[in-house]
Subunit: 311 residues, 2 copies
Amino acid sequence: MSGRVTILTGGVGGAKLVLGLCHAIPADTVTAIVNTGDDFRHLGLSISPDIDTLLYTLSGKANAAQGWGREGESWSFMDAVRSLGGEDWFQLGDGDLALHVLRSERLRTGDPLSAIIADFAAAWGIAAPMLPMTDDVVATKVETNEGLLDFQHYFVRRRCEPVVRSIRFEGATAARPGPGVIKALSNPDCEAVLIAPSNPFLSVDPILSVPGIREALAGSRAPVIAVSPIVSGKAVKGPTAKMMTELGLDISAAAVADHYAGVIDAMLVDERDPPQDLAIPSARADTLMTTLHDRIRVARTALDLAASVRR
Amino acid sequence: MSGRVTILTGGVGGAKLVLGLCHAIPADTVTAIVNTGDDFRHLGLSISPDIDTLLYTLSGKANAAQGWGREGESWSFMDAVRSLGGEDWFQLGDGDLALHVLRSERLRTGDPLSAIIADFAAAWGIAAPMLPMTDDVVATKVETNEGLLDFQHYFVRRRCEPVVRSIRFEGATAARPGPGVIKALSNPDCEAVLIAPSNPFLSVDPILSVPGIREALAGSRAPVIAVSPIVSGKAVKGPTAKMMTELGLDISAAAVADHYAGVIDAMLVDERDPPQDLAIPSARADTLMTTLHDRIRVARTALDLAASVRR
């Protein structure tokens, strides 16, 4: 792999693969296109959960045990918010607040999210370009048995308990891809596009909902490879499996491949899964990414698969 | 003293006397009218330094050794802001941020500062009504040898080093007294009005600059007593003495009394000061407020002076 690699990603699970990629090949040849459908305003602050997870993961600041937020985080702010009767269902760590406060202020003065994130990434020495899928507002909404919920209300406040009926991405039809996004997909230097093992419905679909991105993937000379988020018939983390059941889908790599039909050229399937009947090329490997070593190995395996299915 | 007492106050020094008052007489009979000329926006947050000092002091959360902010404060936010290249000249503690974030959000949604502060005070069990001098924006600006500086730029960023030529309160002429302010001064139950030993030019003058407050003081049946901020020919804290020199004034209780001429009926002067030639009644006492015991004693002495000069 001598060219560039672009990866579509959500937060925690995706960030692990992006980190692996950044060790498998030179980090500055990896471009991450990041979901912003989870972004929301809370306590007047503009919060970008998936982008921030990438920032923490790629700069070595992530809390590995917790799975989100900063290592060594403190919680004086939340304690004081609680003492004042403020909303405390969304945890904002003391150090984490810096991203939200500085981002909110710059957004208020008219700076685009992409420029702000580029500055944050540079300040923290992140070599891989991190591109928000869009600088426009796209908000993931979940239609459930409890009504239409904002994403974070579904995900954090209601802990994914409501039954999902459908998902929509408000603002998507009017959104434009963020600066560099289309180029990262259609650049002749791009040798592979990966879709991270993030939640297909909540983390990857928002990216694909931005007009122009699906078309750029179709027109790319690089093969598009999805890493399956399913391991042993379960999702590694988060509500993917529960949602697939609620949406009437099998919990399987094949169902995810079907969901990505027309977008992906091949899929990396976990070796613990039962044999899959896929209409596209695939490879099987251990896709669990517990250690950094695992992450690098999965990244390399996905790139090998890409090399074998060149368009 | 069986009625109510109202005190005009700035931050640190004034808060000590307010705390003493709240122990000398029932706290719910003490009304503090608080300077908001220091209020400013920083990193997109609305910050009210004097009000917050009162909130911390009266709820037992103040950092006594440091003289400002919260006891046991942590600084992860500032560390992260610095790592991101953000402005770090104004210290915002992790716990302290809760006041700023919650206040900013409520101001943005249209709530007046007075209502927000009343809620904060109630949440923290503060019995004494704390009234912002105004719900409108009044901004203290300092004309110096380095040009016109915003208050916090003069006070914190430039550490009061520029030479002060004059001070103005932008927005004051159009400002209205905050809810309850005029009543707290003109209520027949009000038996004394105290002016805290805060900086006369930076902390008390902004309050007096709000149209209606000076008139309410003049019309009050309660005597108005200033506690001198000068001890042994020096200011206890802050730039009062330096400013008085720069403004061509003696550093003396008499000069402060002259400054308040027409507003105050009597002054409590520190016993270490040289004899003063005052045109108004005065008493002498130890006015240093190191311990809570000191604060209660000074409060009682000021109330005794008020009782002796009833209008």
